[in-house]
Amino acid sequence: ALTKLHQWLLAGLALLTAWLLMLSGAVAPANPGLVWRHAAAFLPVYCALALGLASLITVVYRVLTFVDCPQAHAELVKEIETAKADLAKRGFTFTAAS
């Protein structure tokens, strides 16, 4: 099977080919105006910017919606107390610090 790197190189090659076709005029609308020529020339840059922006928004969104679980901590603290008492009853000796 192809490694991820190889997959990306292949995809990159395909995109590069498509872009070169656009630049050479082989793939173009009937009347390529200035806008088209500019967009075609800078397409990789725009794509990179768009991807960068999408990635940033995704990560920011995921950080903001990261689930905090304070109740899990509270429950754990209580459970630890129960555990310590029960273990002491069964003959376990803790160190002085705990």
Binding site: A1, T3, K4, L5, S55, T58, V59, R62, V63, F66, V67, D68, C69, P70, A72, H73, L76, E79, I80, A83, K84, D86, L87, R90, G91, F92, T93, F94, T95, A97, S98
Partner: protein, 229 residues
């Protein structure tokens, strides 16, 4: 390593939740020569819970996580293995859920996910930690497309022979080791299920655990996996 205080609590909780779910268990404790009396605590626990259930197999000094897994596996008698942290950040109450998930979906591996699923979450992570975690995970998802939401987590249930095969073939260290296990598992065609878990970080290591060099190591490991799998 140095879990003298947490180990008895962990064992108590494992016994409570697995006992309630009628799951037969054995706890293999791999201690790398902790100076704080961890082994002493383990021996006391073996007396309380029976030496069949608490198996202490120490090593002379810190020898790394991967070899610790191998060492523990050598002495484990069960046909399923749970790997988890000993500092109580992984709660044993999720183990019955993992077992149920493995049975219902016939999975080879069930991994806890801190990121996805009803009931997942973390406690004790500041903004910096969250940003690094999400950023690192995003990058790993983008590059490796692993099909697992929590790649760097280390709370997992494996079928014994699956774990043996994975540990034998993985070579990275630290966070990357956990990622490599999942990536290789997918490559070998194993099925992976997920169970949402809560991760309670009581240690508050803060900056020291996720400093610049850890990040560099992570990126190097990620790129290596990207180029070789």
């Amino acid at each position: 390593y140095n879990e003298r205080d947490n180990l008895p609590l962990l064992v108590w909780m494992i016994d409570k939740y697995l006992g309630a779910a009628n799951i037969q268990y054995e706890i293999v404790i791999v201690d790398d020569g902790s100076p704080d009396g961890t082994q002493e605590a383990a021996k006391q626990l073996a007396k309380i819970y029976s030496e069949d259930r608490i198996v202490l197999r120490p090593r002379p000094r810190k020898l790394g996580l991967g070899t610790a897994y191998l060492h523990g596996l050598k002495h484990a008698k069960g046909d399923h293995v749970i790997l988890m942290d000993a500092d109580l950040s992984h709660h044993p109450k999720f183990i019955p859920q993992m077992v149920a998930k493995m049975r219902s979906g016939s999975f080879d591996i069930v991994t806890g996910s801190r990121y996805e699923g009803e009931g997942c979450g973390v406690y004790g992570w500041d903004l910096r930690r969250k940003v690094i975690s999400r950023g690192a995970n995003f990058l790993a998802q983008l590059l490796l497309r692993p099909g697992v939401s929590d790649l760097t987590g280390s709370f997992r249930l494996y079928k014994r022979e699956v774990l043996q095969r994975l540990v034998d073939s993985c070579t990275s260290k630290g966070y990357v080791f956990q990622m490599e296990m999942m990536v290789r598992a997918r490559h070998l065609g194993y099925s992976i299920g997920e169970v949402p878990i809560t991760f309670v970080d009581r240690m508050f290591y803060g900056d020291s655990k996720l400093g610049g060099s850890e990040i560099v190591q992570y990126l190097k490991g990620l790129l290596t996996l990207f180029a070789t799998t």
